[in-house]
Amino acid sequence: MTQSARLHVRVAGIEPLNATLRRITLQHAEGALLPASAPGAHIQLELRGDTRSWRNAYSLVSPPGTRTAYSIIVRKVPQGRGGSLYLHERLAIGQTLTILPPVNLFPIAGLARKHLMLAAGIGVTPFLSTRAALAETPFELHLRCRAADQAAFQTLLAPWPHAHIHAGPDFNPTDLLRHQPLGTHLYLCGPTGFMQAAEAAARALGWPAARIHQEHFGAPTGGRAFDAVLARTGRTIHVAQDQTLLEALEAADIDAPSLCRGGACGECRLPLLAGTPDHRDHFLSESEHATSIMPCVSRSHGEAITIDI
């Protein structure tokens, strides 16, 4: 996707919600207004540690449309990639960060007759901004969480009259999914296993795919790092995990034409000679994928690919 202009923000508040959850509030670094956001939107934070950097996505939990500040809730994950530890242990009030403007990949279906929202743990966060948008439509929210988080989530869900908190691992949504009125939309957010199980249960009960919405947190343009070998010059360009192949080529001063930077226009198409490409474009046909790659979005499954430039 075409890259949005980055925003510079300042950490205006850090508020512990319990031992592993904290709410972080961000304001525009120069005191300007931030872009408004939609219910369910998230932002990407760019974090620079001593030895590496991260680009992590967090749901906005501030009321949609708020332009004076963004709030996010971050769970401390000691065994994670390190971004959440940085936010829990290193982040300080007054510090400046760069973020990408809000993106909404998890909108509320405007024509739903009812909304059924199933969340696990920190997966509740994208729902917190949707309360006002639900208006007159019936809704029901179920949250599965650890006992240790129950009190914190109860506070966050105070404005939700139909929230059900299931502390402990035993929550099984099958019965709920079986007894929903026609026209209900299902929203899932949580660990992959939770979402897969709920989706499978819904599909087995005959839910149409278009009525099931899932929020996946994974940078669509990132992935594992790899090398691009340029066959004509023998150069090797390293593509970092939070960088696109196109960005890596540009950073190496290689003249790489591009237009949409989102996998749609075909302008940046390059001839592919070797490797196992991870195609993510919307442009090339399956047969073309054997011999071409679009560096604005596509990557490599293996350690290296070879392109004919």
């Binding site: 996707m1 075409t2 890259q3 949005s4 202009a5 925003l7 872009p35 408004a36 956001s37 939609a38 939107a41 949609p64 449309g65 990408l100 403007p101 809000p102 993106v103 909404n104 909108p107 279906a109 405007g110 024509l111 278009a210 237009l259 949409c260 930077r261 989102g262 996998g263 749609a264 226009c265 075909g266 919307h282 442009f283």
Partner: protein
């Protein structure tokens, strides 16, 4: 700076200054017209000054706003928005007001005190105090209010079920399509009449791309056709007025009467509604004015000469193309001309 007394209706009084000609967004980078998804980031700066602002304001601004008001009096259905689009309406008002105030501070000012906003539009002599989010504080609904003060047509699109729905618009300067007919249609439905592009998969790719359009990363493309007389309203509703114009082109009048019509189209993700704003900004230039740029007159000749028959038909050029070619041929020596759309000269021939 403005030509407030122009008229886009008979007896037509419309002129482009030398500066307006040089800033014209000429649409053909190559000698052959190709159907591609020619989207690029809508960033400030481009081949001409028409690309220098988020919403371009030029010497025709005051006259185009007056023309829009006249068209709406005769046919109020040129502006329609479905009821679920109110959040998108405010998104559009905010985007246009902020952009105009930032790009043209001499003409427009936006003062915000929380939700209490003051909008000052000096060219149209407007000072409006209103409450952001409360439609009752404006003389029209927010989308109509602000698009009456902007050049070009606008449509707003709801995003649902992996599709885009044309659920609102202000459309008074269109190249032969009807908002009243298309309102509520899906992306494929409203593009159904376009020849060739469906077979090429252009619309499948364009829709996927637009569904992922990001806030703060608008995109643009140009589209084109030709119009007899400097007429903005070439709608199906007004066809009895302009359709017969196509039979009036002669070798003697073609240079003054036939206009290249270019749409600088922009697409913005809207923040609160998650909808999309589509801006269709129309520019008109007579062949005589266009012929004052050497690169453009040669290239237009080549593009028109080699155009595919279905596109000639779709763009409504069947009756006028011959005269245009005969006029432009005298300028074309066949020598290669560089790619790109910038005029390549700073003064006119």
């Amino acid at each position: 700076m403005f030509n407030p007394h122009e008229s886009f209706r008979p007896a037509f009084s419309y002129t482009n200054s030398d500066a307006a000609i040089l800033r014209f967004p000429f649409p053909f980078p190559h000698d052959q017209y190709r159907y591609v998804v020619n989207l690029e980031p809508h960033v400030k700066g481009g081949p001409t000054q028409a690309y220098d602002a988020v919403f371009d304001v030029d010497e025709h601004y005051v006259a185009e706003c007056a023309e829009r008001a006249l068209t709406l009096i005769a046919d109020p259905k040129r502006c329609q928005v479905l009821p679920h689009m109110m959040a998108a309406q405010w998104d559009v008002l905010e985007l246009i007001m902020e952009s105009l105030a930032a790009d043209y501070p001499d003409h427009f000012t936006l003062i915000r005190d929380g939700d209490a906003w003051t909008w000052i539009n000096r060219p149209l002599n407007i000072e409006q105090h209103f409450t952001f989010g409360d439609p009752a504080t404006l003389p029209y609904e927010p989308f109509e209010y602000i698009t009456r003060q902007a050049q070009g047509d606008f449509t707003i699109h709801d995003q649902r079920d992996n599709d885009l729905w044309l659920d609102g618009g202000m459309v008074t300067a269109q190249a032969d399509w009807s908002l009243d007919f298309d309102l509520g249609m899906s992306f494929m439905e409203w593009h159904a009449p376009v020849p060739k592009a469906h077979e090429l998969g252009v619309f499948d790719r364009a829709l996927k791309f637009l569904l992922g359009l990001r806030l703060g990363a608008p995109v643009r493309r140009v589209n084109w056709t030709m119009t007899v007389n400097p007429r903005l309203d070439t709608s199906p509703e007004a066809y009895p007025s302009w359709g017969p114009d196509r039979t009036t082109i002669t070798p003697e009048n073609v240079a003054e009467k036939l206009h290249l019509r270019v749409e600088l189209q922009t697409l913005f993700r809207l923040p609160r509604s998650n909808g999309i704003l589509f801006g269709i900004r129309t520019y008109l230039i007579s062949l005589a004015d266009l012929a004052r740029v050497e690169k453009w007159r040669k290239r237009l000749h080549r593009v028109l000469r080699d155009l595919d028959p279905p596109i000639i038909e779709y763009k409504g050029l069947t009756r006028t193309r011959r005269a245009a070619l005969d006029y432009l041929a005298q300028f074309d020596d066949g020598a290669p001309i560089p790619p790109g759309t910038a005029p390549g000269q700073t003064t006119l021939l």
